[in-house]
């Protein structure tokens, strides 16, 4: 996404997954959580570099994302900790 201003940036800076709209696609940048949770998420396929698509984000309650070949439900709290860029 290009921003036309004096400090043009090539890519948008990472945002929490929680803020993405339904239907948007993004790539995971990092996970801002304790290493236990990170381990859990990695084991389920949410690793930096993974491309995901938001299938449902209703602003309240959990979010459904498609990652790789699977569909995951993520609690809202967790989606605030997963940073992505579009």
């Amino acid at each position: 996404m290009r921003r036309y201003n004096a400090y043009a940036v090539e890519h948008a800076s990472p945002v929490p997954l929680a803020q993405l709209n339904t239907g948007s696609r993004a790539q995971i940048v990092s996970i801002a959580a304790g290493h236990g949770l990170i381990g859990r998420l990695y084991a389920m396929g949410l690793v930096p570099g993974e491309r995901i698509e938001v299938l449902q984000n209703a602003r309240h309650g959990p979010v459904i994302v498609a990652a790789g070949g699977c569909r995951l439900v993520l609690g809202r709290g967790m989606t605030r900790k997963i940073l992505v860029e579009e």
């Binding site: 990695y42 459904i64 699977c70």
Partner: protein
Amino acid sequence: MKRTLTVALVGNPNSGKTTIFNNLTGARQHVGNYPGVTVESKEGVCRHGDTEIKFIDLPGTYSLTAYSADELVARRFIIQEKPDVIVDIVDSSNLERNLYLTVQLMELGAPLVLAFNMSDQAGARGFNIDTEKLSRLLGAPIVNTVGHKGRGMNELLEAVVASADAAAGNDGRFTLDYGREIEQEITKITSLLGTNGSFTEEYEPRWLATKLLENDRDIVSIIDSENIKAQVDKSAERIEKIIGEHPETAIAGSRYGYISGACQESVRSTIEIRHTISDKIDTVVVNRILGIPIFLGLMYLVFQLTFTLGAPFMDWLEQFFGWLAVGVSGWWPEGSESILKSLLVDGVIGGVGGVLVFLPNILLLFLAIAFLEDTGYMARAAFIMDRVMNKIGLHGKSFIPMLIGFGCSIPAIMATRTIENRRDRLTTMLVVPLMSCGARLPIYALIIPAFFPQAFHGPMLWIIYVIGIVLAIVGAKLLRSTLFKGESVPFVMELPPYRMPTLKGVLIHMWERGWLYLKKAGTIILVISIILWAMTAFPGLPEDKAARFDDDRTAVEALDLSDEARAERIATIDNEESEAALTHSIAGRIGHGLEPILKPMGFDWKIGTALIGAFAAKEVFVAQLGIVYSVGEADEESETLREKLQENYTPLIGFCIMLFCLISAPCMATIAVTKRESNSWGWALFQLVGLTVLAYVITVLVFQIGTLLGIGTG
């Protein structure tokens, strides 16, 4: 030459493990207790050539680091039981994620066979996997399978046998290079482990060191050397400082890096992220607006099915047990009193029969749940219910055990194994018995028609169920804000693609849970029934008292009465004698002794006697009540028992009986399972005492207030 192999089936959840397990073992499977490991495993046998292969179906897991109780089962089995071969079932359309577990198995050095399952779907989605190349890179044979079509099973068995043969000579261990900094620290830790020899017998040192750096809770808890722990902490700090990541993250990253590399060489894919039919279905099913109505509709359907379809089978079973009772009674000459006859008819057939009559009901419920689980809908239901569950401090995963609880608490409590957080898990386990289980149905079926007019039957039953649900919600909320206070654990769950379940799969799935109910009936209920029967029958009426009744009877015979009048008087005397005998028996005495406690609830000693049995197992309540009112072998259809209840009690008391039975602990078996699943007698006893006290308090309140307001006092 015949030999046996023990083979474990592992893999991600929803990778098709259980389907393949069913294919390979069919009906020849059973649930057993594995020696040394105190959880249940599913085992089955299969013959291939002259080899007998014992397959163990383990719970699905994403990684060898266990995050929930059932993942722990899988990992413990693999590490401690050391099966001859491990078959890792991989969902080929989700390759990289599935290989994360595979790589850890490779590091463990286990003889591995990979089953690339759902290979038809992978192909359809545009994946082109060079299995030969990948097999070389991973160092394990790969078999393409399509589990739900039964393809590839033979090849799989061939590979398993071949692998077992090859493993005998092979000792090469796969090691993943984690990068210089981490490798250095691993070396430091392994040398410490080497000097402290006790652990290295069971586990390989490098593997242990890696797991320690990954902060694997289970491994950390078995290492009791302060030295080693200190080194691990130091190493972790150092790694974090130098590479900017905690070793757990870095190690996971390295594994994925390896997988990525291997896949890049051998997998061609032409897609980004594709929308599938499942996603399209989900736009409706999981919809913000439509989701809940669809869900409620399905739940209504499930319960309707259970009650209406089950009815004819239940009637049939009732008739069968009635016939059986008559038949067995017929072995003795008419009118004779025999202890053995009473034991068999009143004790065994009455007690156990009362339980088994409701089996169709429970099986149908489990059938419906199995169907919903196998299609993949249950995961959506957990998602939809998550919001509701959040309000009471739990989440979506707690919903499924509660649903199962409507059938039987025992499989319900066991189903809590998927809940990662111990607090949430305990909370769910403790309140699940409030979901009115199938065993309580005979009680409702007896009392509701006895005290309430036809039109009220449905609503009354519904009210009882709702009260249970409400109490469970309140209980959960209370527990979560007091004993189990704390942050709700992050919720992450996979939504499997929708699929058409196989009849065989669903039936087996249903039977896994239904069998537990049956086992309980066959063992605990049987024993309790006999004990109770004994307590009610003994000690018999002493000679002198019995003689008095005999005199009364002779006196009536001597009178000049019509046949009818005489029969009536004799019957009255018989009843009086039975009642006297009962008062004299152990159960009766206990009942009388409890009267002061029972009075506030509106109960008398007879109900008390029945409750004693029900304390151990709810099912026995009706039979016990029948014995107490000397109605021979009573069941819920029994007109005479209903009449007796109407004569002696009011609708309010009837309601209180149901209330008390609803809230108090369902059966000793449930408490035993709670102890096993929570690993502590403390929680089990807390559950028992808590529920009983809650039942008492609420019933007393309802009775007292009801009496005060004059509701239902007839």
